[in-house]
């Protein structure tokens, strides 16, 4: 079985190399001794298998974890205290265990998760990131409130709030368990259900077997300035790899010539609507599939126009890797690199903040510049510095000169002699050289809905999107948020072919049964019924302001983008300014934040959106703030302030 990988807690993963000097942010509250108790793997005493931190029982043999409990799902800080409390509760665990087993189909449950939550209440004043506890304490809400997934914390917190803050009250624990046991049987969603996040045990079918699928999934976003050749490149690739039949291709060529857009013949494979074809642009993200030697690739062809960046955001949020297409012709490259009007920069920054660190820069239209090596080198020089400042490591960026129109260097070595100075791999090989991205198979189901297709003929509703965590198969029950309705999966489709199981990382269309089409909306989330995702209007974000002209003041109206949802938002408060280098609070309540500064702000949205803290789910915790047609800030959700 493969070793399960841990990811870092903070979003510094993605931002630590920004040129603004924004470095790895250590939690300042982390006491020094916690450094050694990092998120690591623990070794099962029986079968000596290395388990992930989040697992409370061994994956292979099912043995419950020993008394020295390491940290909880998200927070190393609790680790030290946990071990104390764990000893107290170890003996009681069996009793609690049985009750919980009754209500949850996940069999092996760790009761010890609950104790740590108790401890956390004592600790919560130390936990700045432990906002859920903070919220629970301060608001004193009951379990029925819509709160994020850290169930175990909620259990203890509400108990302690009910019992006047007594930390080690097992009776209250049991009360809570029985409470959640009752609520577990209600079919309508009780979003505040106190289920320990770590109690979730993925079923066997959810985890990928080694033999089952030989090709791993890779979601590839194609971005770049307008008219750089993204759609043509994708169309060409699909054609060369046999995904588009010759007959279709001829049809596109004929029709495009009729409309006077002969050069767009390949792009028409992806731009299917009349509007897009007429104007010769891509307006929304087109999804296509092809197979390379190692990967089953999902191509997300994005629009390049300034006005359609919101569409590009919702599309590229699913990406694991990206191709940045550059137009090599004289003048076009410079136009793309322009700070205000060009999209090359904005797309590169956005892609980086999606957490993508593997990038191919495809320098397209080389035929126009006669495959000149000098031009290629010049582009590498200029763009390279910029990418470095965004945070892309030089080693994870590949540069490929090609020509989509003339089919040079796409799937085979270039045939044109003028390109013979290039000895590197072609595009397809470079795609194969990508590292497989880590997937969250063992977390509860989470799938942000990208698109909703209603087929009124059969009364079916299909939700399309990429599975961020967990797995699905026909017959499983899912919770549709934000309408909070439970539906059943009728069938799954991937690449227009039905499939039985969809796992984290797969881009699928889920046909749902039991829910009205009006309740499934793009921007919503499909999640596990027992682990509902939170939705809120008032959020605390940690943002990094990009180098744009307008400063952000209190009361600024911005557009808020998160996974596939977008809302109008207002900056309610600027809590503090963070020092870009150390991440520590530099100034409390500043007047405004200007370019290249990072700050903690609170925003109020017009309508509630489904959101998760970044530390829990990266895909649902990344936010983008835009205004006046430009992206002004990128950030993460640190805390959900209230619903």
């Amino acid at each position: 079985m493969p070793r399960k990988v841990n990811y870092g807690v903070d979003y510094d993963d993605d931002y630590d190399e920004y040129d603004y000097g924004y470095e790895v942010e250590d939690n300042e509250e982390t006491p020094p001794e916690q450094e050694t108790i990092k998120r690591s793997v623990w070794r099962c005493a029986v079968c000596t298998y290395d388990n992930d931190e989040t697992m409370s029982s061994c994956d292979i043999c099912g043995v419950l974890r020993g008394p020295l409990l390491k940290n909880l799902t998200y927070d190393e800080k609790r680790a030290g205290f946990n071990s104390l409390a764990a000893n107290i509760f170890y003996l009681k665990s069996s009793r609690v265990h049985s009750i919980v087993v009754g209500e949850d189909e996940a069999v092996k449950v760790s009761s010890k998760r609950l104790d740590s939550s108790d401890v956390s209440t004592a600790k919560d004043k130390h936990n700045r990131l432990d906002e859920i506890t903070f919220n629970m304490q301060s608001s004193g809400k009951s379990l029925l409130s819509l709160m994020p997934k850290e169930r175990n914390v909620m259990v203890a917190n509400s108990s302690s709030s009910r019992n006047g803050g007594k930390a080690h009250d097992l009776a209250s624990n049991l009360k809570n368990i029985s409470f959640s046991a009752e609520s577990g049987h209600s079919n309508d969603t009780n979003p505040g259900r106190a289920n320990s996040y770590a109690q979730y045990k993925p079923e066997k079918w959810m985890l990928p077997g080694k033999t089952e699928h030989s090709l791993a999934q890779l979601n590839l976003a194609i971005v770049g300035h307008v008219d750089s050749g993204k759609s043509t490149l994708s169309g060409r690739l699909l054609h060369l790899l046999g995904r588009i039949s010759q007959k279709d291709m001829q049809k596109y060529e004929k029709e495009s010539k009729l409309q006077g857009k002969g050069s767009f013949a390949y792009a028409w494979a992806l731009d299917e609507s009349a509007e897009e074809r007429e104007r010769g642009i891509t307006m929304t993200v087109a999804v296509a599939y092809f197979d390379s030697k190692i990967y089953h690739v999902v191509v997300l062809d994005s629009p390049g126009h300034k006005d359609f960046v919101p569409n590009m955001i919702t599309g590229a949020t699913q990406a694991d890797a990206a191709i940045l297409v550059i137009d090599a012709s004289i003048g076009s490259f410079e136009a793309g690199m322009d700070g205000t009007k060009g999209q090359t920069r904005e797309h590169a920054q956005l892609i980086r903040s999606f957490g993508v660190d593997q990038l191919i820069v495809a320098v397209n239209k080389m035929d126009v510049v006669d495959y000149s090596k000098d031009r290629f080198d010049l582009i590498i020089l200029q763009l390279g510095t910029f990418l470095r400042s965004c945070g892309f490591k030089d080693s994870s960026v590949s540069w490929i000169p090609l020509s989509a129109a003339k089919n040079q260097n796409l799937v085979s070595a270039p045939s044109d002699f003028r390109l013979s100075w290039y000895h590197g791999p072609n595009l397809l090989d470079t795609i194969d050289s990508f590292q497989p991205p880590p997937r969250d198979f063992s977390k509860p189901l989470l799938m942000p809905i990208c698109d909703v297709i209603k087929s009124s003929s059969q009364g079916q509703v299909s939700a399309c999107g990429k599975l961020e965590a967990g797995a699905l198969r026909s017959g499983s029950k899912v919770l549709v948020m934000p309408s909070a309705i439970i539906a059943t999966v009728r069938s799954l489709e991937r690449d227009s072919q039905p499939c039985t199981i969809g796992r984290a990382g797969d881009n699928v269309a889920v046909s749902l049964h039991g829910v009205d089409a009006n309740h499934v909306l793009a921007g919503g989330v499909l999640c596990h019924p027992d682990f509902p995702v939170a939705f809120a209007k008032h959020l605390e974000l940690k943002v990094l302001v990009l180098d744009v002209a307008t400063p952000i003041l209190i009361g600024s109206q911005l557009e808020f983008h998160i996974h596939h949802a977008k809302e109008s938002a207002r900056v309610a408060r600027i809590s503090s300014l963070l020092d870009s280098k150390t991440g520590k609070v530099a100034k409390k309540a500043p007047r405004c934040i200007v370019a290249k500064q990072s700050a903690v702000v609170e925003v109020t949205l017009h309508e509630a959106v489904c959101v998760e803290e970044f530390s829990k789910c990266k895909a649902l915790g990344r936010v983008f703030l835009r205004t006046l047609g430009r992206t002004v800030a990128v950030g993460i959700v640190t805390r959900i302030v209230e619903v």
Partner: protein
């Protein structure tokens, strides 16, 4: 607003008789009246009459004069409610009894004030000025969302807001996309016909990112032709298309900034407000030490005679505390005297709303004051 009778001593007591004509005027009246003033109008009151056969309550029309204690402005309903104690001798209502007057459009009323300060006189003057109305109808849209706004002289009203969920357009779902889009446009056209009255407004603006506005414009004209909607067909030339970055309400600022629209409304208050606000923002981004906001900072800046342009919302003038009102009025006067400009933003306009969220008072300074940063807001 029609001023029927006027007998005012500047900075002294006075009486005016007014008839508000549109919702803008009601807003001006709202700004004009302060607690302690006296308003006389025709109103209805339920009166209990002991008649044969039991108690009877009738609604009787009567003229009441009340001393203002509280006010409530209803933007959408275009009504201004004034609550206060009765001070006129009346057979049905005793002196000292509470009553709420409802000031409606086209109903005259008499306003008596103790002190007609310069601001009040300003408002009165503005009210009786027939020209200089912005009067713009704006359709702000993006795919799946449309806001129809009426920008008046001092008020911006959201007439309607239409939301629809429009699916993506590739593969088999293209048909769904087309039909969903069509339904959405239908709804917007209906709302457009209902709320946009070309007799009142100067021009209509359709604004959106991308190409939605062109699609909608085409659709609108086709529908007008098909259904023979006369007003739209005749006023085809008065429909302007503007590019914005989103369909949300705050993009109205961008619409008003656009040169084609600016040309139409350049002499109006709304345009001026937008311009000034933009200047403030530019100053804040280019040279943050020369712009400040918040009463404390602005106060300090004013003490040092550094204020060049003062931006203030009329919200602050409406505080019931006479002293605060006086303070802001003095501030405005002093800034004007020192050679600066004071802009009073209507908080019902888009830029006024944004300014209100920034505490309601801001200033562009003559000289940079970097140490303002250190002083707590």
């Amino acid at each position: 607003m029609k001023v029927l009778h006027r007998d005012v001593v500047p900075n002294g007591p006075g009486v005016v008789k007014l008839v508000p004509v549109d919702s803008d005027d009601l807003w001006l009246v709202y700004n004009l009246i302060a607690t302690g003033d006296r308003v006389m109008a025709v109103t209805f009151r339920k009166v209990l009459r002991a008649k044969s056969g039991g108690k009877n309550s009738e609604r009787v029309a009567m003229k009441l004069e009340i001393e203002v204690e509280a006010m409530d402005y209803d933007k959408e309903g275009a009504v201004l409610r004034i609550k206060g104690k009765n001070i006129l001798q009346n057979e049905y209502v005793t002196i000292g009894a509470f009553h709420t007057l409802q000031l409606q459009l086209c109903r005259p009323f008499v306003l008596t004030k103790e002190t007609w300060d310069s601001l009040a006189l300003d408002v009165l003057h503005q009210a009786s000025d027939p020209g200089a109305t912005a009067d713009l109808a704006v359709v702000l849209m993006q795919e799946g969302l449309a806001n129809i706004l009426l920008v008046g002289r001092s008020v911006t009203i959201t007439s309607s807001r239409i939301e629809a969920s429009i699916p993506r357009k590739h593969g088999p779902a293209i048909v769904g996309y087309e039909s969903a889009l069509k339904t959405f446009f239908e709804n917007v056209v209906q709302a457009f016909i209902k709320h946009v009255d070309f007799n009142v407004i100067r021009c209509a603006v359709i604004a959106s990112p991308g190409f939605t506005k062109d699609q909608f414009h085409r659709h609108l004209l086709l529908e007008a032709e098909r259904k023979q909607v006369r007003p739209i067909i005749e006023n085809k030339s008065r429909i302007i298309l503007v590019q914005t970055s989103s369909g949300y309400k705050h993009s109205l600022r961008e619409v008003l900034d656009a040169p084609s629209v600016m040309k139409m409304i350049k002499d109006t208050k709304a345009a001026e407000e937008v311009r000034t606000f933009r200047d403030f923002f530019d100053m804040l981004s280019n040279d943050p030490a020369r712009a400040c906001y918040g009463p404390k900072h602005v106060g300090i800046a004013h003490e040092r005679l550094a204020v060049q342009t003062l931006l203030i919302t009329d919200d602050l003038f409406r505080s019931s505390d006479v002293k605060t009102r006086q303070k802001y009025e003095d501030l405005v006067k002093e800034v004007k005297k020192a050679g600066g400009i004071a802009h009073i933003f209507s908080s019902m306009h888009v830029s006024g709303e944004e300014l209100a969220q920034l505490t309601g008072i801001a200033a562009i300074l003559r000289i940079p004051l970097p140490d303002l940063d250190d002083i707590e807001m």
